[in-house]
């Protein structure tokens, strides 16, 4: 199965997926988050009939529209890239993975596309009530589409409700509800959407703060900030809670990922969470170098609490998960590779026996396969250390996300407090910080996806399908060409988008 494997090609395919996903994620969280905020603005306008609120609503809608278009543009490649660059994956898990994508199209994309047009062009064409309904439907549709793609992504991290069918050589769905309502999926959805709401709030705050610093559109800016900061505060607190729940889920089903987040090589009881530390990039799981270079601070017991809801509990480290730990009954990648290779051999033998019409032999091989199939993916690894994801990138992304995520509620509280005191305009330091909060939010959001996806390596489907098998049979040169093609295209479109957005912000609501 892994004959002619071109590792360079696999890495380029990963790079292309990361590139397109990260570009897409520049625009998506803003769509998800600001759509709710605009719906609130629009509601206030309809309830009060105030022209000021109408101008405000139209202004943010305008910016939403610019962002939405490029979000759609970068999104279409994502769906088809599963086929173009990960065709073996598409075949092996398409029976499960394809369904959420199709459901996303049927129940969400059309809702979004249809009501988007009404939201933008319906001001004088439909009734006020229906127009407002359409604005809410855009928010619902956008977030519904997030549900299904996140269900699909959660399944890659925690593949429930499926079984491998040795006759068709693929994973098949056994229980749709287990896939759709997996706790991993629920956490992923709540975390992604609440953090996106926060980002939407920062978008409004950044632009409004800039207006306040310039003394322009003061009333609109202050009104925008109050609604955005209120929603942002609720979202940021919710994000911390569901983020904690996500970490617990990860500890249960992807312990290697959690260990990489924390640079935890040796398992510990009463394990501490890193509050500060510089990860040693050169360290390998098999050597004795220290995990951190220089000074580092751990908060005792917090990682154990996060992982197992108990201060004194044992959190396995990367070494335990690679080489095993009998004391804590942990099977390492070394042992799992042996079992995985047995599964692969049994599967091949089963298929040979089936081809030869030897049903008795096939039955024996099938039983052997079933015994070890939970370790199937490990059978395709070449060495146990491959089971470790890139530690430094996972660690840094995780801690940037945590640091910023902790800071965000304080910023919202600051804005609300000074708005309440009616002194916001005088707090230049806060407004200065406010203008960059959108960038900070974007960094945290992108870091979150790096944590989720880099931390999952080497798996495309956790424990079952490594990326080396999931690939399409392409040359590295082909993928390099499309990588740079998309890099250039998306960068140019991003530059155009930012330029248009800046101009529109500069023009401000009067002209809209």
């Amino acid at each position: 199965m892994i004959e002619n494997l071109d590792l360079g090609m696999v890495n380029w395919a990963r790079a292309q997926f990361a590139l397109t996903a990260m570009y897409h994620w520049i625009f998506v969280p803003l769509t998800l988050g600001i759509s709710w905020i605009i719906a609130f603005y629009h509601t206030i306008y309809v309830r009060t009939g105030s022209e000021e609120w109408k101008r405000l609503t139209k202004f943010w809608m305008k910016l939403f529209g610019i962002n939405f278009a490029i979000g759609v543009a970068t999104g279409i490649i994502m769906e088809f890239e599963f086929g173009t660059n990960w065709s073996n994956y598409s075949w092996m898990v398409g029976d499960i993975f394809g369904a959420p994508l199709a459901i996303e199209g049927i129940v969400a994309f059309f809702l979004e596309a249809t009501f988007f047009a009404v939201m933008f062009f319906g001001w004088n064409r439909v009734s006020k009530g229906f127009h407002l309904f359409s604005t809410w439907m855009v928010a619902v549709g956008s977030n519904l589409s997030a549900v299904w793609i996140l269900v699909a992504n959660a399944w890659m991290q925690y593949p429930v409700g499926q079984a491998f069918n040795p006759d068709t050589a693929r994973f098949e769905m056994q229980n749709f509800f287990e896939v759709a309502f997996s706790p991993y999926a629920v956490n992923k959805f709540t975390h992604a959407t609440s953090s996106s709401m926060m980002l939407g709030a920062f978008f409004v705050i950044s632009i409004s703060s800039w207006y306040l610093l310039r003394g322009r559109h003061v009333l609109m800016a202050k009104r925008s900030i109050v609604v955005a900061a209120s929603l942002g505060l609720i979202a940021s607190i919710f994000t911390i809670f569901n983020g904690d729940e996500s970490a617990y889920e990860i500890a249960q089903v992807q312990p290697m990922k959690l260990a990489a987040f924390e640079g935890l090589y040796e398992g510990q009881t009463n394990a501490g969470l890193v509050a500060f530390g510089i990860i040693n990039r050169d360290k390998k799981v098999y050597d004795t170098q220290p995990a951190f270079t220089g000074f580092n601070i751990h908060i005792p017991g917090v990682l154990s609490l996060m992982a197992n809801r108990s201060f004194g509990s044992f959190v396995p480290g990367m070494k335990d998960l690679v080489y095993g730990n009998a004391e804590h009954n942990i099977l390492g990648a070394v042992q799992r590779m042996e079992l995985g290779k047995k599964a692969v051999t049994s599967l091949d033998a089963y298929r040979q026996a089936k081809k030869a019409g030897d049903e008795a032999a096939a039955e024996v091989q099938l039983a052997a396969f079933n015994e070890n199939k939970a370790h199937l993916g490990y059978g395709y690894l070449n060495k146990p250390e491959e089971a470790v994801p890139p530690v430094a990138l996972s660690f840094n992304a995780f801690h940037v996300m945590i640091f910023l995520g902790t800071l965000f509620p304080l910023i919202f509280i600051g804005y609300l407090y000074f708005s309440y005191k009616r002194t916001l305009e005088q707090k230049k330091w806060l407004l200065g910080l406010g203008t960059v909060t959108y960038i900070l939010g974007m960094i945290a959001s992108q870091a979150g996806w790096i944590v989720a996806e880099v931390g999952r390596q080497p798996w495309s489907i956790q424990d079952l399908l490594p990326v080396t098998i999931a690939r399409t049979n392409l040359t590295a040169g082909t993928v390099q060409t499309t990588f740079f093609m998309f890099l250039v295209l998306f960068t140019l479109l991003l530059i155009a988008e930012i330029s248009i957005m800046v101009k529109q912000i500069n023009i401000g609501p009067e002209e809209n």
Partner: protein, 383 residues
């Protein structure tokens, strides 16, 4: 009731559903057709803005239909998804490229500081309208003429031609002529539909000269599409196809396969004839009378033609994605589909489709009560 459906029925049902979505997409390519007509039909900025603002309200529906077509194929026929998208890499990447640039063009075209200027975004729309549709047509043509791939025991694809799908249109062969004819038919059909749609959607009393140009373009593009249509239909009557010849699913070349399929399913022949008839009547009425509702006839006609084009190579024990280099790697609705469980789950989900269609129809009935006027293009929310 869905629980009682057998596997083969589910496979036929899902190919039908995918074909319906695909056929609806072809009808919705009036957006792409309109884009490709932009420079030809609009002689000044006002006319351009009218066309862009009319198409701009619908482009996302067409785009979403294409995305749903992909998603539905992934969910119901994952082996096709993996084989075609992974194999015919360049064809799909280029198609996607044209849709990526389309998606930003409406929003960015007239905005100040858009970096590249209006002309570039209009060029993107033209590219999507011509090259995107041409390549989609060529890809559909391979449902009949076959592709160059092999599947191994694990059903992993190896493409045996270095052009990775582009050979469907670029290799010097009779198959390429058929594939290109399919592409050109779709391009000219989209332009015919585009002209019909604009006549229906715009308040043309304000731009009478453009109305004359649109009505004339509708007829010209229909006439241009017909030779390609005739070439395709003529070829289908005589060409050999890829049939399943036994219960094990063995594929063999069968002479007059598509003629046999038409005779075995005369309703497909009916769909094709009625579809072509509706399209021609719609275009004729639009071009030769003051009728503005020709798009409905043309659109329904295109759906029926699209259904025939997509169902003919799949039903009646036929390989819908044949391999020219290894017959037994060819894909059929039986060997390429999802499991019965997944198809059943998806069938329950598909029950939502009528509701989706109903709200889309309701919303657009509301929105289209008034035609697009010049004053609409001056609105700050306009494109």
């Amino acid at each position: 009731m869905i629980e009682r459906l057998d596997y083969a029925t589910l496979q036929h049902l899902w190919w039908l559903l995918c074909s319906v979505v695909g056929a609806l997409f072809l009808a919705m390519t009036f957006v792409q057709g309109g884009q490709s007509l932009l420079w030809q039909m609009a002689k000044n900025q006002t006319e351009k803005d009218l066309i862009i603002n009319s198409l701009g309200r619908k482009w996302e529906l067409t785009f979403t239909t294409l995305v749903l077509f992909g998603g539905a194929l992934f969910a119901s026929f994952p082996k096709f998804y993996s084989t075609s998208f992974g194999g015919a890499y360049w064809v799909w990447v280029l198609i996607l490229f044209t849709f990526i640039v389309q998606a930003v063009s409406y929003e960015f075209r007239r905005k100040p500081w858009n970096i590249f200027g209006s002309l570039v975004y209009e060029g993107f729309l033209f590219l999507n309208g011509v090259v995107g549709i041409l390549l989609i047509g060529a890809a559909v043509g391979t449902f009949y003429t076959g592709s160059n791939f092999q599947l191994n025991d694990s059903n992993f694809v190896t493409w045996t031609h270095p052009l990775r799908g582009l050979e469907a249109a670029l290799s010097p062969s009779i198959s390429s002529i058929f594939n290109i004819a399919m592409g050109l038919f779709l391009v000219f059909n989209a332009r015919t539909l585009g002209a019909m749609y604009l006549i229906n959607n715009l308040e043309l009393g304000e731009v009478p000269e453009m109305e004359t140009r649109l009505r004339s373009a509708c007829w010209q593009n229909l006439l241009l599409s017909l030779p390609f249509c005739l070439l395709i239909v003529g070829s289908l009557l005589f060409m050999r196809g890829y049939g399943i010849v036994d219960a094990k699913g063995t594929i063999e070349i069968v002479s007059f396969k598509y003629l046999r399929n038409l005779l075995a399913n005369p309703w497909l022949l009916g769909l094709l004839v009625v579809g072509l008839g509706l399209l021609i009547v719609g275009a004729w009425k639009t071009a030769k009378t003051s009728e503005t509702r020709g798009i409905w006839l043309g659109g329904i006609g295109t759906v029926l033609i699209g259904l025939t084009v997509l169902l003919l190579p799949a039903y009646n024990s036929t390989a819908f994605y044949p391999s020219r280099v290894d017959l037994q790697s060819s894909l059929t609705i039986y060997n390429a589909s999802s499991s019965p469980y997944t198809l059943k789950v998806m069938t329950y989900v598909a029950l939502a489709i009528p509701f989706v269609l109903a709200y889309i129809a309701y919303v657009w009935r509301l929105m289209n009560r008034e035609k697009i006027r010049i004053e609409d293009t001056g609105d700050k929310a306009a494109y």
